[in-house]
Amino acid sequence: MSEFKEFNVEGTIYKTEVPDYVANRKKWERPNPNHIKSFIPGTIVEIFVKKGQKVKEGECLMILQAMKMKNKILMPFDGVIEKINVAVEEKVPNRTVMVELKA
């Protein structure tokens, strides 16, 4: 039996076992609108933009291939490419920041 910890429910502190999946919960972070993250693990097969380039909303930035599908990564708003963190043929895990933007 694991040790008891203090655990707060609505202001009351209870002595109880707190399993790892609760004790190690990730803190929620507000998503950064200037970050484009991979939504699926896959491979970058093509990149169409460069650092510093001005890009219009809806233009295709790169192709992320996953599960045999070529997914177009589109520009969410008019802006500038601040940084590209991936390269062609790179395998990217899920939720990787691939591109950083500036409005």
Binding site: F4, F7, N8, V9, E10, G11, T12, I13, Y14, K15, T16, E17, V18, P19, V22, R25, K26, W28, P41, A66, M67, K91, P93, N94
Partner: protein, 514 residues
């Protein structure tokens, strides 16, 4: 040909089938710590009670060289037998024959015994040990799975369906166990997943072993797909037999009664629950203190441990227990525990097993992860399950019953038949700290010493509301009882409820939040 020669010929044919995949394949099976399919069946049923059918079934595949292959029994054994003298239908996939792969005839054998089980109203026990679809048989093997899933669904709530995972059970094959009532897994032997480690590695680049991905521990602790976990096959078979003593053989029958026995003297109900409602204890000891012979057969012991579910007996009759567990996460409700309890409640209701709910819970697990994981719709499952259930429903509130949790845990408002509370019960809209902070916010903020004021107000709230008498004054609680009276009151309530008649509006079916 004389009769004797006919008989010898039959015996020879049977002998051949009984060799399954042959000596070498059997040796491999044994080396993995596994029994063969027929040994497994024999270990579960009463001695000499098993009768096998479809021994001479052959596949009809004509592609990829299959026409030259003879697969004994097409890789699955079906039959009937008895357990403790009561009839059961069984199938067991034979991994020694083409890896227990499922082709059309293999599936037809399974569906034949399933149809039989449903028609005869006897439990179905399926032993899964299969590499998956027989690829050479293409869409025919997919059709086979589909026919099995359909029958699992038809039989659901009519006859008990037990799935025993004693080997790989991968891809679509996992959905038959998932549709059945109880899934049994064994350490190092059971492996269940939709996509295996190979695919995950190729597609996602993540390396994981079969055991880590879908082993027995994973399914009994993390996913909640398994209900019973055993260290070896023999322990697993004992669990199956024990479960079958508790549950009715079909939905038109009651479970077999046992001679009534008092709880064991070592479980002293007054000494189990600490007075201070922030202190932990094992709620299972309360169940043991009130159930016959202190025998509590827990279901899903390792998953969502903040709620406890399982079977016991009172006065010799099976009851289903649902209880918050203050030992883990203070007994809060969350996504997984709601799901776990709701399904069990529906099981008991489907098979006319009375429900006894023991309540001690402070509310729901707070957190962004819970909200985003859908604790609203998962939590709603408990409300749905209790409201829908028409079996005798009795609740005992031993300590905390706060807020939405009070309503959810088979309250009067979910149409509990009997509501009992110990004098230590705290039935309130929320915990004293939280409530005082809201109600007396202005006073606390305006005070010279806000902490002292908060303490005072918390104490004030506690004194006034953290008790069972406010709810009892409204008739939401039928009786405030002394802890030692609990078993007596439950036995009486169960006796009174024996011929309960209750109904719900007729409909095709409801739309539960799943």
């Amino acid at each position: 040909m004389s009769l004797k020669r006919n008989i010898l010929d039959l015996r020879k044919r049977k002998e051949k089938v009984l060799q399954g995949g042959g000596e070498k394949a059997i040796q491999k099976q044994v080396a993995m710590g596994k029994l063969t399919a027929r040994e497994r069946i024999r270990s579960i049923v009463d001695e000499d009670s098993f009768h096998e059918y479809d021994m001479f079934v052959e596949h009809e595949a004509r592609d990829f060289g299959m026409e030259k292959k003879q697969l004994q029994g097409d890789g699955v054994i079906i039959g009937t037998g008895t357990i403790y003298g009561q009839p059961v239908c069984l199938f067991a996939q034979d991994f020694t024959v083409a890896g227990g792969s499922l082709g059309l005839m293999h599936a037809r054998k399974i569906t034949k015994i399933m149809d039989h089980a449903l028609k005869m109203r006897v439990p179905l026990i399926g032993i899964n040990d299969s590499g998956g679809a027989r690829i050479q048989e293409g869409v025919n093997s997919l059709a086979g799975y589909g026919e099995i899933f359909f029958r699992n669904t038809l039989a659901s709530g009519v006859i008990p369906q037990l799935s025993v995972i004693l080997g790989p059970c991968a891809g679509g094959a996992v959905y038959s166990p998932a549709l059945t009532d109880f899934v049994f897994v064994v350490e190092n032997i059971s492996k269940m997943f939709i996509t295996g480690p190979e695919v995950i590695k190729t597609v996602l680049g993540e390396e994981i072993s079969m055991e880590e991905l879908g082993g027995a521990k994973v399914h009994s602790e993390i996913t909640g797909n398994a209900h019973f976990y055993a260290l070896n096959e023999l322990e697993c078979f004992e669990q199956i037999k024990k479960l079958l003593t508790f549950i009715p053989w079909h939905n038109g029958k009651k479970a077999r009664p046992f001679p009534p026995k008092p709880p064991k003297a070592e479980y002293k109900i007054e000494e189990i629950v600490p007075l201070d409602s922030t202190q932990p204890y094992d709620i299972r000891n309360v169940i043991r203190a009130i159930s016959d012979d202190s025998d509590f057969f827990e279901v899903m012991e390792g998953f969502a441990r903040n709620i406890v579910i399982g079977f016991g007996r009172m006065n010799g009759e099976t009851v289903g227990f649902v209880a918050n567990q203050p030992l883990v996460l203070a007994g809060v409700l969350d996504c997984d525990s709601s799901d776990k309890a709701a399904r069990f409640i529906r099981y008991c209701d489907a098979f006319s097993i009375p429900l006894v709910t023991i309540e001690d819970m402070p509310g729901y697990l707070p957190g962004v992860d819970q909200e985003h994981a859908g604790v609203i719709r998962h939590g709603a499952k408990i409300l749905y399950a209790y409201s829908e259930a028409t079996v005798p429903k009795i609740t005992v509130i031993v300590r905390k019953a706060y807020g939405g949790g009070y309503i959810a845990m088979n309250s009067r408002h979910m149409k509990a038949d009997f509501m009992f509370a110990w004098p230590t019960a705290e039935i309130a809209v929320m915990g004293p700290e939280g409530a005082a902070n809201i109600i007396f916010r202005k006073e606390i903020m305006a005070a010279e010493d806000p902490d002292a004021m908060r303490k005072e107000k918390v104490a004030e709230y506690k004194a006034k509301f953290a008790n069972p008498y406010v709810a009892a004054a409204k008739g939401y609680i039928d009786s405030v009882i002394e802890p030692v009276e609990t078993r007596k009151m439950l036995l009486h309530a169960l006796e009174i409820s024996m011929n309960k008649v209750d109904g719900r509006p007729s409909k095709k079916h409801g739309i539960p939040p799943f």
